[in-house]
């Protein structure tokens, strides 16, 4: 199990370390500055910042936060259609096992950027920006559309899956030279009815895949929870006994039938029903669900877990989640019971086992 966690918050980057006495949180950098995401890869921590006045920035540390070095953040090229400016680095992911020096950034506006030198330089993926369907994308969560999920296929060096709010789910099979929109079966009740099945306007809040069975993907959509067994081509909406609105989802790393979500009342309310906070889990591919509440507040709780605010470690046993109200919990037994680590952190954007 992983004993370390990165926690990206509204006011700095924290690490959590599990010691004999339990988990302890430490602020390791960027006090007071919004950290929109963070990643530890091959001994390096990458931290994406969004200064309130001074825009998005990117830093790296090779000594676990003792010292930091600023990297040039990705930028839209001057000739990119629409003359966009980088508003936020939303997702930060590795290139997967085929590309050990590669990093991916998903941005707002919905630009995709690739580095093949561990963040020293960034290439704009113009082929995605130039798809004609982009004219139909629109903002979800922010004013402009954004990329929050980037998932390289562990079986195929040239295949990468991404998800856009609100622009649907997309795949390249030629290492980014061209892109296809996927997502048959998704349904958007927030547009005029004749457009509800348009793949390019769907709002997948977050999409993850099972590491051991990469064709199995789970999606928390703006309107419902979906599963795909063919790497995102077709999706089935799952029926839950509780609210099926939310942002976060994680997949069990080995068991393709198991995933976790964090429900809230849809979509204009976005808080736990009756102030009682829970996590939902299925162990059978979405046929049945458990709502797990032990250790979580069951009254007066208004916590919401953002897209990157829930993680599971390589064991599939240990989970962590951080909320918009600055509470952070861990579980040692697949979510059956939770322990509060800290109730007073800044609002949490992302947690990640390292």
């Amino acid at each position: 199990m992983s004993d370390h966690l990165l926690v990206a918050t509204r006011k700095g980057l924290f690490t959590l370390e599990r010691k004999r006495s339990g988990w302890t949180a430490n602020l390791i950098g960027f006090a007071g500055i919004p950290v929109t995401n963070a990643l530890r890869d091959n001994g390096t921590i990458y931290t994406a910042l969004k200064h309130g006045h001074f825009g998005p920035k990117l830093h790296r540390s090779d000594d676990d936060g003792e010292s930091w070095r600023a990297l040039a953040p990705p930028a839209f090229p001057a000739d990119a259609a629409g003359a966009p400016s980088l508003f936020q680095i939303w997702s930060l992911d590795t290139g997967g096992r085929h590309h050990p020096d590669r990093l991916w950034i998903g941005a707002i506006p919905a630009g995709l950027f690739r580095s093949d030198d561990r963040g020293e330089s960034w290439q704009f993926v113009a082929s995605l920006w130039n798809v004609p369907e982009r004219a139909r994308w629109f903002g979800g969560g922010y004013d402009a559309a954004g990329i929050h999920s980037v998932s390289p296929d562990p079986r195929d060096a040239d295949r990468v899956f991404i998800a856009i709010s609100c622009g649907g789910v997309w795949e390249t099979r030629d290492d980014g030279a061209s892109w296809s929109v996927l997502g048959k079966g998704l349904f958007a009740p927030y547009v005029p009815p004749e457009q509800a099945e348009d793949s390019a306007i769907q709002d997948p809040h977050r999409v993850v895949r099972c590491a051991a069975a990469p064709d199995v993907m789970w999606m928390q959509h703006h309107a419902g929870i979906y599963r795909s067994a063919d790497a995102g081509a077709h999706w089935t909406r799952l029926s839950l006994p509780c609210d099926d609105f939310g942002f976060a989802v994680v997949a069990h790393p080995r068991d393709a039938q198991t995933a976790w979500f964090v429900p809230a009342i849809k979509d204009e309310i976005r808080m736990p029903r009756d102030g009682a906070f829970g996590v939902t889990r299925t162990n059978d591919g979405g046929k049945t669900w458990q709502v797990m509440r032990e250790g979580l507040p069951q009254r007066d709780a208004y916590d919401l877990i953002y897209r990157h605010g829930l993680d599971v470690d390589e064991s599939g046993e240990r989970l962590a989640m951080g909320s918009t109200t600055g509470a952070l919990w861990t579980s040692e037994n697949s979510g059956a019971r939770w322990q509060l680590v800290n109730a007073h952190l800044p609002p949490i954007y992302a947690v990640r086992f390292v």
Binding site: R136, F138, G139, G140, G141, Y142, D143, S165, C166, Y190, V191, P192, E194, Q195, D203, H222, F247, D267, E268, R270, L304, Y306, T324
Partner: protein, 89 residues
């Protein structure tokens, strides 16, 4: 008369089911509609009469850009959808 649908997020302000509004543009139709539903005005338009930043209008299936939405010409059989942007969290 154009048919006007409002987002369910405004259901406690606007009756369920489409409303009707006359006008040669989206802005005229909205003005006429909001004259009889004045309590909705501040939810759709800002204090300067511009479309609110997180309100989006579809006319006959086309999502209108915020800058030009109100001047978009419509016909008597047009269908308007007044939707919210999926912002927040």
């Amino acid at each position: 008369m154009a048919e006007v649908h409002f987002t369910s997020h405004l259901r406690n302000l606007v009756p369920d089911g489409p409303l009707s509004a006359s006008g040669a543009t989206v802005g005229e139709a909205l003005t006429n509609l909001l004259a009889v539903q004045p309590h909705v005005r501040g939810y759709v338009l800002d204090d300067r009469g511009a479309l609110r930043q997180h309100v989006c209008i579809f006319a006959d299936g086309e999502r209108l850009s915020r800058d030009s939405a109100l001047s978009r010409r419509i016909g008597p059989d047009s269908k308007l959808y007044i939707m919210q942007a999926l912002s927040g969290g």
